[in-house]
Symmetry: T
Subunit: 144 residues, 12 copies
Amino acid sequence: MRILVLHGPNLNLLGSRDPEIYGSFSQEYILSHLTSLFPTYSFHLFQSNHEGEIIDVIQQKEYDALLINIGGYTHTSVSIHDALEAVKPVAIEVHISHVEKREAFRQQSLVARHCLGTISGFGIAGYELAVRFLASNYPPTSAN
Amino acid sequence: MRILVLHGPNLNLLGSRDPEIYGSFSQEYILSHLTSLFPTYSFHLFQSNHEGEIIDVIQQKEYDALLINIGGYTHTSVSIHDALEAVKPVAIEVHISHVEKREAFRQQSLVARHCLGTISGFGIAGYELAVRFLASNYPPTSAN
Amino acid sequence: MRILVLHGPNLNLLGSRDPEIYGSFSQEYILSHLTSLFPTYSFHLFQSNHEGEIIDVIQQKEYDALLINIGGYTHTSVSIHDALEAVKPVAIEVHISHVEKREAFRQQSLVARHCLGTISGFGIAGYELAVRFLASNYPPTSAN
Amino acid sequence: MRILVLHGPNLNLLGSRDPEIYGSFSQEYILSHLTSLFPTYSFHLFQSNHEGEIIDVIQQKEYDALLINIGGYTHTSVSIHDALEAVKPVAIEVHISHVEKREAFRQQSLVARHCLGTISGFGIAGYELAVRFLASNYPPTSAN
Amino acid sequence: MRILVLHGPNLNLLGSRDPEIYGSFSQEYILSHLTSLFPTYSFHLFQSNHEGEIIDVIQQKEYDALLINIGGYTHTSVSIHDALEAVKPVAIEVHISHVEKREAFRQQSLVARHCLGTISGFGIAGYELAVRFLASNYPPTSAN
Amino acid sequence: MRILVLHGPNLNLLGSRDPEIYGSFSQEYILSHLTSLFPTYSFHLFQSNHEGEIIDVIQQKEYDALLINIGGYTHTSVSIHDALEAVKPVAIEVHISHVEKREAFRQQSLVARHCLGTISGFGIAGYELAVRFLASNYPPTSAN
Amino acid sequence: MRILVLHGPNLNLLGSRDPEIYGSFSQEYILSHLTSLFPTYSFHLFQSNHEGEIIDVIQQKEYDALLINIGGYTHTSVSIHDALEAVKPVAIEVHISHVEKREAFRQQSLVARHCLGTISGFGIAGYELAVRFLASNYPPTSAN
Amino acid sequence: MRILVLHGPNLNLLGSRDPEIYGSFSQEYILSHLTSLFPTYSFHLFQSNHEGEIIDVIQQKEYDALLINIGGYTHTSVSIHDALEAVKPVAIEVHISHVEKREAFRQQSLVARHCLGTISGFGIAGYELAVRFLASNYPPTSAN
Amino acid sequence: MRILVLHGPNLNLLGSRDPEIYGSFSQEYILSHLTSLFPTYSFHLFQSNHEGEIIDVIQQKEYDALLINIGGYTHTSVSIHDALEAVKPVAIEVHISHVEKREAFRQQSLVARHCLGTISGFGIAGYELAVRFLASNYPPTSAN
Amino acid sequence: MRILVLHGPNLNLLGSRDPEIYGSFSQEYILSHLTSLFPTYSFHLFQSNHEGEIIDVIQQKEYDALLINIGGYTHTSVSIHDALEAVKPVAIEVHISHVEKREAFRQQSLVARHCLGTISGFGIAGYELAVRFLASNYPPTSAN
Amino acid sequence: MRILVLHGPNLNLLGSRDPEIYGSFSQEYILSHLTSLFPTYSFHLFQSNHEGEIIDVIQQKEYDALLINIGGYTHTSVSIHDALEAVKPVAIEVHISHVEKREAFRQQSLVARHCLGTISGFGIAGYELAVRFLASNYPPTSAN
Amino acid sequence: MRILVLHGPNLNLLGSRDPEIYGSFSQEYILSHLTSLFPTYSFHLFQSNHEGEIIDVIQQKEYDALLINIGGYTHTSVSIHDALEAVKPVAIEVHISHVEKREAFRQQSLVARHCLGTISGFGIAGYELAVRFLASNYPPTSAN
């Protein structure tokens, strides 16, 4: 099973940006950590600051499931909303910080309504929880 | 470690109410399922339809951590909000359905701001994910 | 047929509270009046100032139909809304005063969407009208 | 006693329009049904799609009581509101469907504040309930 | 100069409706009073409860100036707004009561933006004041 | 195929009202222009400033398709909305000016949700475009 | 009878400020014009840019009636509202321009609810109309 | 005179909850402090986290005056509002913290409109001030 | 200790304005009453209808504590808010009437957030209560 | 004449995405269909999921007219709005579905105010209608 | 060239009020600093806590340009807005703190729309920047 | 010191777009003008219509200070807001036009809260003012 960690703007700064909020782990660490925990899965990362590239990747469907954390676009992008609505992926929304505690403009998610569920506030452990759910509900693929 | 599953109004109907939304598992099943998965923890259930009883239980602090799912009070109870603010428990908010997809009056959580994080939309698997997070971050107690 | 008059907060004051608004009849009078009018039905009263007790009673389903007038909870209780949504009773919403003429915070009913219909403003005659509708549409039971 | 059933726009379609919502009975049926139930009263029908004609009829006061169901004008007509305020008829608001369950723009009634009460959601039985209330509270006239 | 007093819904009730608010003078009195005060002008009255008839009369332009008081349509009629915008009459808005002191839904006037000015709260004296303004600014016609 | 051009308030002024906005063509020109372009169809015009007459005509169904442009009622008439909902005609909404560029109170259309589509801003050419669409999708009738 | 023209901020600029809006007449002209028209009255002017001075003058009650035009304070001054509420003068609100056509923040008048009526949009003729109304309803005083 | 200190949710935590906000005094201290200051009065305490119990106590009227501080229910309970409206007690609203400085959802009090006055922000001294007011305005009773 | 009673617009009318709301006591009575009750303090009064003068006095700091009741400016004056924020006086907000029961535009206080607490609705007794609080918490000064 | 079909995010999925809403025709079909209908024009397609690329293309002006359908950016992109405002192209807004019937966040178009008109709800026939309008109003170019 | 630094309420406290926000420089320092930097200009200061005095000074026009910083009146004074609209001075809006980062009630400026531009957040250096702009665009006067 | 002029969508059109609003100077002119005025600094320009590219450039930090003018993204981009929040550059917001005078959707800046200050409305002179501020507060670098 091929799982894509789909990261939006500023998530490439993980590990250096405000560690007291976002922790001290990089994107690469998340990927290697998931791989060591779930060796029968294949994990991939796509990060972009570009709304259009995120839509492109969603449409190309080169994944079996998405762990989706698209930062600021979560709250503003009708176009990513439409891409998810059209493609209908197996997807889980993950937020590292607890967005429910932050600014008013982060209280609406245009992503949530196209995901199985949302995991918010657990730091990078949120990704692990999301894969645990997938692991219990979707058969792993031997290769990809 | 003593973990209290704190359930609010109508969660006693789990297993019989709208199974296509809430699944076919009862509260008792959740408890026995968690116990079998995490045998070193002690799980307890408190369910009430009464806002005041939920506040009473939060205040009595006979738990090390809360898995909190208080149904309709999530969105309306300033008083439970205040109890959590006063007691400051280790707590995780769990919702069986994906509340982000439901009515407008369910889009505000007065509980979230006093929890470590929120897990929404994964059915009863959400409880398991919440305990997995606790298990990685809190040492289990031998007994209680 | 067993009909439960389900009364919320302050309806126990009927007959003594602001008679120019609520009339001079007590809850007990309503019950005996309905019994004399509809002798083949069995009428019961449950009044509580406690939101949780009202939910408990709705869930226990010891009635064939509800005449529901839950006072201030009509406008604020998501949890009673959820109980009605789960249990799906035969229910009619009754208000003694004409709530459409009162404060802005009384203009939303979370109860209405789970009832057959609403009767508002006819004093205690509203209960009689509600039962007349039930009588024409539901066969009376010989006992209960 | 002369009772006018005052119907607004599209109620002339009763019996043919969306029967699953509005039932299969025509306006004429309502009138004959009421006449057979309450033979000491005189029932009349006035239906119009024209806001102005409805105001004209309210002003002419050729009735002892109104059963008023003015469809879409219920929610938008300040002018009918003013006519009722000026004339102060004995009036009961009736809605065949349960408007509390419908679109947001139907949640305000400019008619309600000038009526004795409101009966909503009982199909054409609502008219019968309204007349029962009148019958208990107003002496019938021998003829008119 | 031909001056049309253009009256909307319920103004035909002047003299009988709530005299403490609207005074005890009829429409006919207003007309004869204006005629006696301003004998060189020709006064006419058109009253209708029908929005469409009011638009018809505005379009027919059989007047040199309008004294416009269209009751409840003042606040709701985009269509009369459009008629005035298209025809661009010499018009003065008159209200007998002081609408600024009344319900919230009367605080917007769709008529005002197409009038020279507004006179509100002076009872039927408002009509006289409006004509005084016209008399000082428009030459009277000998006949019409 | 019998096509009714259904015009609301002030559209009878076409050709004389603000030509820089609405163009210099009359309603009659529109009709004869459509007839010359689509000779196998039968075109009819109904214009009224009266909301009630527009509802009457919609209900009478003496047309196979509607080109509907009801001016100010587009934005305010719940009753016409209800008539279209009840009758379910083949209908296309046409606006001569580009309403999206105008006042805030013109930004909501209660008509649109009961039409196949909307054409706005093309002057009287909008009617021609609407018929072209009908011509491609509905067989013309030999006579009527 | 002693009539005070009570002018608020920027009305001292009358005659020089934007003549196309406010006309070319000064405050002094208004006073002498009123005096010539109504010789049995005594007219006085008080203009101030200071909210507090306007309140002082209202409280001192050295007038029999007020013609009140307090410019920008009309829309913002709760304190002048309170002064009028306390003193309860005979007062008429006058606006030179037609405020109903101007910015949104001018659409609320805190003055209107304490005046007999409002005259808006007639230029300085509005003052004359206001005094005409007073002259018909209040006996003039011989001197003061 | 029998004075009831009526405390809502979480006030049982006084003395232990966030002392920097709520001070270090318990409920019992408040009661003994008031008793020592006002020996001719009889003070009683009722605290509950249950909305319904608070309504019950208000209705039972076993007090001559209420010092009412019902925590989070202050802002949300229409039902307690209705109980106060029905019973019409001599009541003073007290808040230990200065609620005007806190979250937006605490800025509305449904209790205030049924109290003589409100005292907010003085810590437990607020209770003493409230009784001082009662002492000056109500004769103490010798016993109760 | 020097205590300044700082009064805003219209409070100079105390004793004459609407006695049923504001009581029959003048400002001078308040001062002499406080002086007789608390002879070790020095009481001063400053009343002004001028927003700027109130700011001037706050800035001059010729007081040890403020009893602040600035009438209509309570709700509108960002500038007085800023003066209090800059000077940070010992201050208590007092209102004679219970503002929570009055118009919507009185429900926001820009003063409260810079005061120790608020006392509202107790008539002139509110001043006494405020000084009692100061007396218990601040040492009196021998003279000034 | 060179006509650019400018497509925004997810329109590359036409033909595969939700055919019951968007039909079964691809972008390429639209282009070839338009070319066959209007052989004297030259049609080009630019589709991008990237907001910036759409702005780039608008600025480069390598077209005589635009048929613009930019999906989700229609409702959110101030920057595309600014590009159209700066470049002032001949443009027509086309929507395949009837956006007036969809989610609230699709009810505002930032594109419309810079287009000649809008065609919404006619499926891919909307493009043909748009070109018909251009064909009647703009001379075709022989080549390009 | 005569440049007036026009300061509103509380700016006289500069240098003593919250130095971490407003810096440690007094108004006098600003004036002498500007004079030393731009010796060919004549700088003057007018500070007042009184809205009316600020309007007076704007109207008297004894300046060639304004540097305007009127503190709390920036956000609330329609009357100063009107004075600027009437007088049309050469004016630049300066704020010492960055108002965009502060309370919601400071986010609207009624001053901005009558100024050449706004400079916000640069401390007292903002005044220097404003004069630099004037110096490049307006010829200095030899004396005054 | 290396200063980056960071320009968002449509600023590449400077000099050709609406010169009456944006002036007749190109981006290149701004750069050479700044270079000639401040020869000890190194100025660079990055303009993009792509939100993602702007975030990329902010993150790469190849500058000592930013002059940031990102056009339409100023008001809509949560993602650029987040990039600035993460990187915390020395930045000044510049707008060529006075945005405070323009459309409602331009009244919110998501950029301002991460800048030292804002300069708006001075045309291209705004850039010069911004550098003057930097020059007084940051030591120039000899080269880069």
